[in-house]
C-alpha cells in the first residue's frame, strides 16, 4: 500500500513552497488586499514559467502533462501562501471543464494560453443567493447567445473567458441546463467588481446581453458536466484549504511559543494547548480525507463523488477552525489589520462558499453515500 504522494511529487511540493516563499510573501498578498492591484500579475507569470499553471494539462495542449496528484501538491502550497491569483478559477474550474467537455478546437485555443499565463478563466454559475441547483439557473441561452446576470463570479472582473451555466430548457431538470464558453471582453458582456470578504480573490457580477458564446459539451449535458467539474474542483480546493489550515496552525503554535503572559509562554497553558491540539486534529482529518479525494481524482475512481464531498467538508471545516482559532491564540494582536491572521480568516470563509456552501456539500455527501449503499 502506498497511500501517499511519491518522492517526486513531494519534491515538487518543496519546489512550489520555495518559489512561493520567495515570490508570494505576505507583503505581496497585502498589495492585493489593500487594492493596489486586482491580482499579482508578476506571480501569475512566474507560476506559468514554473509550469504550475499547466501541470495537469496534457503536453499536446501546451501543459506539463504531469497529472492531478501533482496539481494537488501545488494547490496545497497555493493555499499556504494565500496566493492572490486566479489559480482556482482558471485551473480547477475553467481548465477542468475544458478537459472534461471541450472540443479539440476549444482545448487547442484555451489550454495552451492557460498554461502560459495568457488567459484567465472562470466558472459563471451562481445567480445571487443559494447553492448549485438547475432550478436556480435563470440565465438563458438561445442560438448561442446568452442573456442574464451571474454573481458572484470568482475572478470575474479579470477573467478573459468564462464557462457559463445556462438554461436551454424550460424545466428544472438537469437536462434543461447546458454549458457555454463565453469570452468576457466581447460585445454584450459587462463585468463589475464586487466588494467581498476576501479581497485577495476578486468577485464580480457579469451581465450578459445577447452575448455571443459557444456550447461546451453537448447541449443538455450541462448539469452532469458541471457536477464532475465541481467534484474535481472540490478536491483541488480542499488541498488549498489544507495548506491554509496548516499555515494558520503553525502561526498559532509559533505565537504561543513566543508570547509570554503571567510569566510563561502562553503555549504552556492548557486552555491554549488544547485549542491548538484540536486545530491539529481538524487539519489532520482534513488532510487524510483530501488524500482520499486525490486518489479518487487521479484514478478516475467511481468513488470520486463521495470522496470529493468528504474532502470538501472536512477541509472547509478545518480551515475555518484553524483560521478562527489562530486569531484567538493571538488575542488582541490577531484582530489587527497589521497581523496576517485575518487574511487566513478571510480566505477560509470565502473558500468555504465558492463551490457551494458546507450545508450543500453535507447534503451531497449523504446522497452519494446512500447511492453507494443501495448499489
Amino acid at each position: 500500500m502506498n497511500f501517499d504522494f511519491s518522492d517526486e511529487q513531494k519534491q515538487l511540493r518543496d519546489e512550489a513552497r520555495k518559489f512561493l516563499t520567495e515570490k508570494c510573501s505576505p507583503k505581496a498578498v497585502r498589495a492585493v488586499l489593500d487594492g493596489k492591484a486586482s491580482y499579482d500579475r508578476e506571480l501569475w507569470q512566474g507560476l506559468a514559467e514554473m509550469g504550475f499553471l499547466g501541470v495537469a494539462i496534457p503536453e499536446n495542449y501546451g501543459g506539463a502533462g504531469a497529472g492531478h496528484l501533482e496539481l494537488c501538491v501545488i494547490a496545497e502550497e497555493m493555499g499556504r501562501a494565500l496566493a492572490p491569483v486566479p489559480f482556482s478559477s482558471t485551473v480547477y474550474l475553467a481548465a477542468e471543464a475544458l478537459l472534461i467537455a471541450g472540443s479539440d478546437v476549444q482545448k487547442q485555443k484555451w489550454l495552451p494560453k492557460i498554461a502560459k499565463g495568457e488567459a484567465i478563466g472562470t466558472l459563471a454559475l451562481f445567480e445571487g443567493k443559494g447553492n448549485p441547483s438547475p432550478q436556480a439557473v435563470k440565465l438563458a441561452a438561445s442560438g448561442n447567445a446568452l442573456t442574464g446576470v451571474k454573481m458572484p463570479v470568482a475572478d470575474g472582473a479579470i477573467a478573459d473567458f468564462a464557462i457559463v451555466v445556462a438554461r436551454t430548457g424550460s424545466g428544472g431538470r438537469d437536462s434543461d441546463i447546458s454549458l457555454y464558453l463565453a469570452e468576457l471582453k466581447g460585445e454584450g458582456v459587462e463585468t463589475k467588481a464586487l466588494s467581498n470578504i476576501d479581497p485577495t480573490r476578486g468577485q464580480a457580477e457579469i451581465t450578459f446581453k445577447n452575448a455571443k458564446a459557444e456550447p461546451l459539451g453537448r447541449v443538455g449535458d450541462g448539469w452532469s458536466i458541471l457536477t464532475q467539474v465541481l467534484d474535481r474542483a472540490a478536491v483541488l480546493m480542499a488541498f488549498e484549504q489544507v495548506g491554509g489550515s496548516d499555515r494558520a496552525l503553525e502561526m498559532g503554535r509559533d505565537y504561543a511559543l513566543d508570547r509570554i503572559a503571567f510569566g510563561r509562554p502562553i503555549g504552556s497553558f492548557q486552555a491554549v494547548k488544547h485549542m491548538l491540539a484540536d486545530m491539529y486534529v481538524s487539519a489532520t482529518l482534513a488532510r487524510s480525507n483530501s488524500y482520499y479525494g486525490a486518489w479518487a481524482l487521479s484514478t478516475n475512481s467511481s468513488e470520486l463523488p463521495e470522496a470529493a464531498a468528504a474532502a470538501r467538508i472536512s477541509a472547509t471545516q478545518a480551515f475555518q477552525h484553524c483560521a478562527k482559532n489562530n486569531i484567538q491564540v493571538h488575542g488582541g494582536m490577531g484582530f489587527t489589520w497589521e497581523f496576517d491572521c485575518h487574511m487566513f480568516y478571510r480566505r477560509a470563509n470565502a473558500t468555504a462558499l465558492g463551490l457551494g456552501s458546507l450545508s450543500y456539500w453535507e447534503d451531497q455527501l449523504i446522497d452519494r453515500m446512500r447511492k453507494k449503499n443501495a448499489a
Partner: protein
C-alpha cells in the same frame, strides 16, 4: 498513490487468509461481527475459553504476536505484516481483547528489561494466551498523574514486600501475571523513587475485587497488596528507575494502528437509513443529514489517517504523529453518536431492555462511552500529548516535580 499490496504483501495476505479460512471459529463470526462497543458476548459459549482456544491455535501455527521474535513465541514479522494480519483476522480479532494489555504492553516491557532466561520462560505462554497478563499502574490517587502512585515496595533480604492498592486493572480477575509499578523511595522526587516488577497474580496477599462501572458492567478491578513478597529477580530495570521502564510500557500502548477504532458511525448510518420518523425516513431529514455528514467525514478522516500510517509501515518508515488523534476523535464521537441515536428514538430511547430499538445497541453505547474518553489517557491527556509531542508546545508547569514525594500536598481544600 494506491491502495494495492506489494507482491510480498499480497503473498503474505494470501497465506494469512488461507490459514484463517481453514482454522477460525466460524460459528462465532456473525456474533463477533455484530458486537460493537461494550462487551463481546457469545451465545452458549464462554468467550474467555473461545478466545484462549483461538489464541493457542494461532500460536501453534506461528500466527500469534506476529511482530515478536520467534524465540519468544512470535513470528518475527514486519510491522506491515502485523497490520495485514489484523485486517485479515477481521471480526475474529475481537477475541484478542483479553490479550491486548499482555501482548501490547507487558510483553514489550519484559522484552526490554527481563533476563534472557525469564523472557524464554514467560513470553511464549503469554504469546499463546495460556497465560494472561495485566498492568498494575493506576491508583486511586494516581490516574492521569500516574507517577504520583503510593503502593510501597520495601526491600527485605532478597525480596521486596509490597503494600498498597491499584485500581482500573483490566482483566486482573483472570490474569496469571502482572507488571507492577511501586514506590521504593518516598523521599525522592516523584518520578525518581519508582521501581517496576512483575509478579504472579496468585502470590499470597494479592486480592482482586471487581469494580462495578457506571455502565453496570465489570471489566476492571481494584487490586489490593498486603505484604506481598516479590523476589528481587523479578525487578524490571534498576531500583528507582521505574518511571523510565513505565515509559516503555506506555509508549507501546499507542502502537496499535491497523485495528481501527470504533466510532459508532456505520451503526448510526444504517439506523438512519431504516428509521421511519413521523414525516419520513430519518435520513431524508435535513438536520439528520447534516449531523451524519459531519460524523461521516470524521470517520473517514480516521480511516484514511490510519491508511497513511500503514503506508509508512509498508515503506519501512516510522508512521508520523497523525495517529495520535484516533482515540481522541473516536471517543468523543461515539458518545455524541449514541446520544443522537437515542434522540431520534424519542421517548422510547430511554428503554434498554428487549423493547428497545436494535436490542438496546445505542443505549449500551451511550452508557459505555464515558469510559472511552477516560481509559488509556483522558481526552485532556491526549490533547496534552498532541500539543507537547506533535506541536512542540511547552510541558505543564509541574509544581511537584522537584519536591520529595512525601512532601507533596495530598489534599485540595483543607
Amino acid at each position: 498513490m494506491n491502495f494495492e499490496d506489494t507482491p510480498q504483501e499480497a503473498a503474505f495476505r494470501a497465506e494469512a487468509r488461507a490459514w484463517i479460512t481453514a482454522n477460525a471459529p466460524k460459528q462465532y463470526e456473525d456474533e463477533l461481527r455484530k458486537s460493537s462497543l461494550g462487551r463481546t458476548r457469545l451465545e452458549g459459549a464462554n468467550v474467555l475459553e473461545v478466545a484462549k482456544a483461538w489464541q493457542k491455535k494461532k500460536a501453534d501455527a506461528g500466527w500469534a504476536c506476529l511482530h515478536w521474535p520467534k524465540d519468544y513465541g512470535g513470528r518475527g514479522s514486519s510491522p506491515i505484516e502485523r497490520v495485514i494480519w489484523q485486517q485479515e483476522e477481521g471480526a475474529f480479532g475481537k477475541l484478542s481483547a483479553m490479550f491486548i494489555i499482555g501482548h501490547g504492553m507487558c510483553g514489550p516491557t519484559m522484552m526490554a528489561f527481563a533476563s534472557e532466561e525469564q523472557k524464554r520462560h514467560y513470553l511464549p505462554p503469554l504469546a499463546s494466551g495460556e497465560n494472561v497478563w495485566c498492568q498494575l499502574f493506576s491508583e486511586p490517587s494516581a490516574g492521569s498523574d500516574v507517577a504520583g502512585l503510593r503502593t510501597r515496595a520495601e526491600k527485605r533480604g532478597d525480596d521486596w514486600i509490597v503494600n498498597g492498592q491499584k485500581i482500573w486493572t483490566s482483566g486482573a480477575h483472570y490474569s496469571d501475571y502482572g507488571i507492577l509499578l511501586t514506590r521504593t523511595d518516598p523521599t525522592a522526587p516523584k518520578h525518581k523513587g519508582l521501581t517496576m516488577f512483575f509478579l504472579d497474580m496468585k502470590s499470597p496477599g494479592v486480592e482482586v475485587r471487581p469494580i462495578k462501572q457506571a455502565s453496570g458492567q465489570s471489566d476492571f478491578n481494584e487490586v489490593y497488596f498486603s505484604d506481598v513478597k516479590i523476589p528481587d529477580a523479578q525487578r524490571l530495570g534498576n531500583v528507582n528507575d521505574g518511571w523510565n521502564v513505565a515509559l516503555t510500557t506506555l509508549m507501546n500502548e499507542r502502537m496499535s494502528i491497523g485495528a481501527g477504532v470504533a466510532t459508532g458511525f456505520p451503526e448510526l448510518f444504517e439506523f438512519c437509513n431504516n428509521l421511519m420518523l413521523e414525516d419520513g425516513l430519518a435520513i431524508d431529514d435535513r438536520n439528520v443529514r447534516s449531523k451524519l455528514a459531519n460524523w461521516a467525514v470524521r470517520a473517514s478522516g480516521l480511516k484514511y489517517t490510519s491508511l497513511r500510517a500503514i503506508s509508512a509501515l509498508s515503506k519501512g518508515e516510522r508512521p508520523g504523529p497523525e495517529n495520535s488523534i484516533g482515540k481522541l476523535v473516536a471517543g468523543a464521537m461515539i458518545q455524541e453518536v449514541a446520544m443522537f441515536a437515542l434522540d431520534l428514538e424519542g421517548a422510547a430511547g430511554v428503554l434498554n431492555g428487549p423493547e428497545a430499538e436494535l436490542a438496546g445497541k445505542f443505549q449500551a453505547m451511550l452508557l459505555r462511552a464515558p469510559g472511552t474518553r477516560v481509559e488509556g489517557g483522558t481526552d485532556e491527556i491526549m490533547r496534552n500529548i498532541i500539543a507537547e509531542r506533535v506541536l512542540g508546545l511547552p510541558g505543564d508547569v509541574r509544581v511537584d516535580k522537584d519536591l520529595p514525594f512525601n512532601q507533596i500536598p495530598t489534599k485540595g481544600r483543607a
